[in-house]
């Protein structure tokens, strides 16, 4: 079992529904977010291209945030989901510094918070909130070890890349292009 996500940049319109759905599902305080939209523009008018993509924790196989955590609050659960135990976290911020994706934030209640792949939903057989609301259905979530899962199928016949591969983190979110 290895959870991962594929995101089709050909379909994402950058609407931010994933962001607000995550906030309401996970009670993320206003002013903070666990996922966000990135837009990159290249070229010169009128030969211009943009890529829109939704980003979040990459739930890395080789997660620097877990390695650097002094209390063990940052840990990996079944399926490779990187999580933070709030009451073990001392808010030192080492994990925030170590993350090449800037995927973590300091919660106003004093601990570090981040994407959980909505494991509370996944346990019940539901999709993560961001995936479940996306109007373009550009996100595919599931078990990468299962060759027939939605996510495995999504990356089977498409070109894809990961973010900051040079960081050596082995991220588990794949951007289709």
């Amino acid at each position: 079992m290895r959870y991962g996500m594929a995101i089709d940049t050909k379909k994402c319109v950058g609407c931010s529904d994933c962001v607000v759905a995550c906030q309401t599902e996970n009670n993320v305080p206003i002013g903070y977010c666990r996922d966000w939209i990135t837009e990159t523009v290249s070229g010169t008018y009128p030969k211009v291209e943009i890529e829109l993509r939704t980003e979040r924790c990459n739930h890395c196989d080789n997660a620097p945030c877990v390695r650097c955590c002094p209390t063990g609050a940052s840990h990996i659960i079944e399926g490779g989901i990187v999580k933070v135990t709030a009451n073990k976290c001392i808010g030192c911020g080492a994990c925030i510094e170590s993350c090449p994706y800037d995927a973590r934030y300091s919660h106003p209640e004093g601990y570090v918070d981040k994407c959980t792949f909505c494991d509370h939903r996944v346990k019940k057989g539901l999709q993560p909130a961001c995936v479940s609301v996306c109007p373009t259905k550009c996100m595919y979530f599931g078990d990468l070890d299962d060759p027939n899962s939605e996510v495995s199928n999504a990356i089977k016949n498409r070109k894809y890349r990961v973010l900051a591969p040079e960081a050596g983190t082995k991220p588990q979110i794949f951007y289709l292009y």
Binding site: T24, L52, T136, K137
Partner: protein
């Protein structure tokens, strides 16, 4: 001269007591949006859900409001059986919870008081506010006739208010959704196919092979089911062709992006028709059977070659040919999308005609992957007497626009100014669910009307800009706290959706149905409001439709079988269109008889002077009009707009990314607030772009006040469509002011 109707900033006016009352409410309720007491693990437990349909925009997606054990709304999720959303709300629908939680909401009725030459608002009881409005309505009716009391409205509250006004005797009703938005396309399509496009548009995007967007930016406008279907079409490999001076999100997903010179679309559309006809790519059988005036059209576009259009549009002839062939290859599974906000240059009905005619040549109307035949369920009217017949109405005021099919707001506004010509004068306004200040162009005219009218009632959930001008402000509760009319809209299959309250209304806010009933009773119109609770009306109507309120509370959405026949034409099927000839009119007999061009003609439009740039505006996916700028969840996603400037232009002006500038238009109007510069290759060098709906002037919108600039404020040149009265707004040009023009001036 001091004006009677000072612009009042609501927040500055509360008495000490009122301010205290507000802050105590904030302590109890306002804190909930920042509260984190629920850990995410408990978030999904023991939630109750109530059906609703969204009111954050006009798409009205059905969903479920989820309420926790403490009675807080925690989330809103789309209804899986709803053809408007297929179970997925857009960011605004998901963020609708912020509309409920917004601590800046109107809380109590407010009444304007003029003392010592100064205007201010004071809080009032519902009793007092309603008595005052009813007395004024009686006074206006006896002095001038009820027709003089106009209604300017939008959305669900608008329907209740319209019922009240019709019962009272006024059909002087208008909504910006017509003359400031989609009116021209309804006329353009009606004169061609004999049918309105309507909402949601019957575009069969999920099965299309080619989607052509003329300035329509699906994905930035989150017309939910269309965005979803466009994504499906991308999956299936459909070709998208986007015509836009800006690289919109949709343009970035297109096989062909045609970065057209603004205001020249009609030339491109005519050239496309030329290619289809002269390369014999049009649907010959379809045109032969269903169309009228093909020979006239063929002659009309004879010289409108791609080479001719190149000089006008800056789109290369081979691209015009290639894209025409792409459409023909996909036909009839092709959609040249009518768009939605189409009031651009004043010849908008004609441009929409050209779009409709192009669809006709491609044979896409009534075909799979083109336009399907929509169907809507008629909701039976709750028993009531028929409305009195007004002596004059919106139709009278819009008479000089022969094909106006709904009230023209701008004409109602004009009729509110005594010095303007016209026999019938409007003396008072009821405004519900629309922020006219950010909707109606030509603000000087609007201001003049606001100064002229004797009485203004504003019904809204939020202290929008327009509320500052009111004599009475009534706080409506949000859609999450009320019943409203049954949502029945056009779709592939007819369906209905229920909206019911998930929680009690916050503060002293009330539903529009209750407000109008209270006013109706005071006006002696009880027979039009013959119920105690609106749920009685709904239950009665739902039972007529073979369901009930009880059932709808459980399912939220109910879909019905079609009764009007198949979605598409079968091959060779005889079909009568709703035009004078019964055919698709390539040559419009109706326009010809009224003295308008029977076929669209390209006419050039004014261009920006040196140092000025055409103002183009549009939408951001997380906001609706100016309605959502203060919504805490949606503000968090985008808190201001930027002015998009091409790097070449930025260089000339020495502009830096993120720099604040003030905008000045061709008439010398300077923006109330500065706006940050976004330097981007996504926009042409002769234009600038900004998202509509920012630059709020009401200080009581604590987040949105002064954030970004208002495009509407910059639109003082209006090119009116002579066919139906739409206000063309894309003929305004702006320049930059780089240092504060109001420095040292008291604001």
């Amino acid at each position: 001269m001091s004006t009677r109707r000072d612009f009042i900033k609501i927040s500055a006016l509360g008495t000490g007591g009122a301010a205290l009352a507000m802050s105590s409410i904030n302590l109890v309720q306002g804190s909930s949006i920042f509260s984190n007491s629920n850990s995410s693990a408990n978030r999904g437990l023991n939630l109750k859900r109530y059906p609703t349909y969204c009111e954050v925009c006009f798409w009205k997606c059905a969903g479920w409001t989820h309420v926790n054990e403490e009675g807080q709304i925690v989330k809103i999720i789309g209804n899986e059986n709803d053809p408007h959303c297929y179970g997925r709300l857009c960011p605004r629908g998901t963020g609708g919870v912020g509309m409920y939680n917004d601590e800046d909401r109107l809380q109590k009725p407010l009444i304007r008081e003029n003392t010592g030459g100064k205007s201010s608002f004071r809080e009032a009881s519902w009793e007092e506010a309603l008595d005052l409005i009813a007395d004024k309505m009686k006074e206006i009716a006896s002095k001038y006739g009820p027709e003089s009391f106009a209604l300017l409205k939008h959305g669900s509250p608008g329907s209740h208010l319209e019922h009240l006004m019709r019962a009272y005797g006024s059909d002087t009703v208008g909504e910006p959704a017509y003359a400031q938005c989609r009116g021209p396309r309804e006329t353009g399509f009606a004169t061609t196919f004999g049918s309105w496009v309507g909402s949601p548009e019957p575009t069969d995007i999920r099965d299309t092979k080619c989607l052509v967007l003329i300035g329509s930016h699906i994905g930035e406008n989150m017309h939910n089911s269309q965005v979803q279907e466009m994504s499906d079409a991308i999956d299936k490999g459909a070709t998208i062709i986007t015509v836009d001076p800006r690289l919109s999100t949709a343009a970035s997903k297109s096989k062909y992006w045609l970065p057209i010179k603004p205001s020249t679309d009609i030339a491109l559309l005519l050239a496309w028709m030329h290619v289809l006809i002269y390369e014999e790519l049009y649907d010959k059988d379809y045109v032969r059977q269903y169309a009228f005036g093909f020979d006239e059209l063929k002659e009309h576009v004879k010289n409108m070659t791609p080479e001719w259009a190149y000089g006008i549009t800056t789109i290369k002839p081979d691209i015009i040919r290639k894209t025409a062939r792409e459409m023909a290859n996909a036909a009839p599974s092709v959609i040249v999308h009518p768009g939605r906000h189409v009031v651009w240059y004043g010849d908008d009905t004609q441009r929409e005609r050209a779009i409709a005619m192009l669809n006709a040549l491609l044979g896409s109307w009534g075909r799979r992957g083109g336009f399907y035949f929509k169907e809507k369920l008629k909701v039976p009217k709750y028993p009531q007497p028929s409305y009195p017949h007004p002596k004059w109405s919106w139709e009278t005021l819009g008479e000089k626009y022969p094909l106006a099919a709904m009230g023209i707001t701008n004409e109602i506004i004009r009729a509110s100014i005594p010095e303007e010509e016209g026999e019938h004068k409007v003396r008072a306004w009821m405004v519900g669910g629309t922020n006219l200040i950010k909707t109606i162009p030509d603000k000087p005219l609007l201001e003049k009307a606001l100064q002229s009218i004797e009485f203004l009632v504003v019904v809204d959930t939020m202290p929008m800009d327009i509320a500052s001008y009111a004599d009475v402000v009534l706080p409506e509760c949000t859609y999450l706290e009320r019943y409203d009319g049954i949502r029945s809209a056009t779709n592939r299959e007819p369906s209905i959706a229920l909206r019911m309250p998930a929680v009690e209304p916050k503060y002293e806010s009330k539903p529009a149905w209750w407000i109008t009933k209270q006013l109706g009773e005071r006006l002696g119109l009880h027979d039009y409001f013959n119920y105690e609770e609106y749920s009685e009306v709904l239950d009665w109507q739902l039972k007529q439709l073979g369901t009930s309120l009880e059932e709808m509370k459980k399912i939220g959405v109910k879909t019905f079988e079609r009764s009007s026949g198949p979605l598409y034409l079968s091959k060779g099927e005889p079909y009568e269109f709703g035009t004078a000839t019964g055919k698709i009119e390539l040559y419009s007999t109706e326009l010809a008889s009224l003295g308008f061009d029977p076929m669209p003609v390209y006419k050039s439009h004014p261009e920006p002077a040196a140092g000025f740039y055409r103002l183009i505006y549009g939408r951001a996916p997380m906001h609706t009009f100016s309605r959502t700028a203060n919504n805490p969840n949606l503000y968090d996603l985008r808190d201001e707009n930027n002015v998009w400037v091409n790097p070449k232009v930025a260089k000339i002006w020495g502009l830096k990314a993120g720099q604040e500038v003030w905008l000045k238009n061709q008439d010398g109007v300077v923006s109330s607030f500065p706006i940050k510069v976004r330097i981007t290759e996504r926009i042409r060098w002769d234009s600038v772009y900004m998202v509509h709906g920012f630059g709020h002037t009401n200080k009581n919108l604590s987040r949105a006040y002064g954030r970004g600039a208002s495009d509407t404020e910059m639109i003082t040149k209006v090119m009116v469509d002579p066919v139906m009265g739409g206000t063309g707004m894309r003929g305004n040009f702006i320049t930059f002011i780089t240092s504060n023009p109001r420095k040292g001036v008291e604001s």
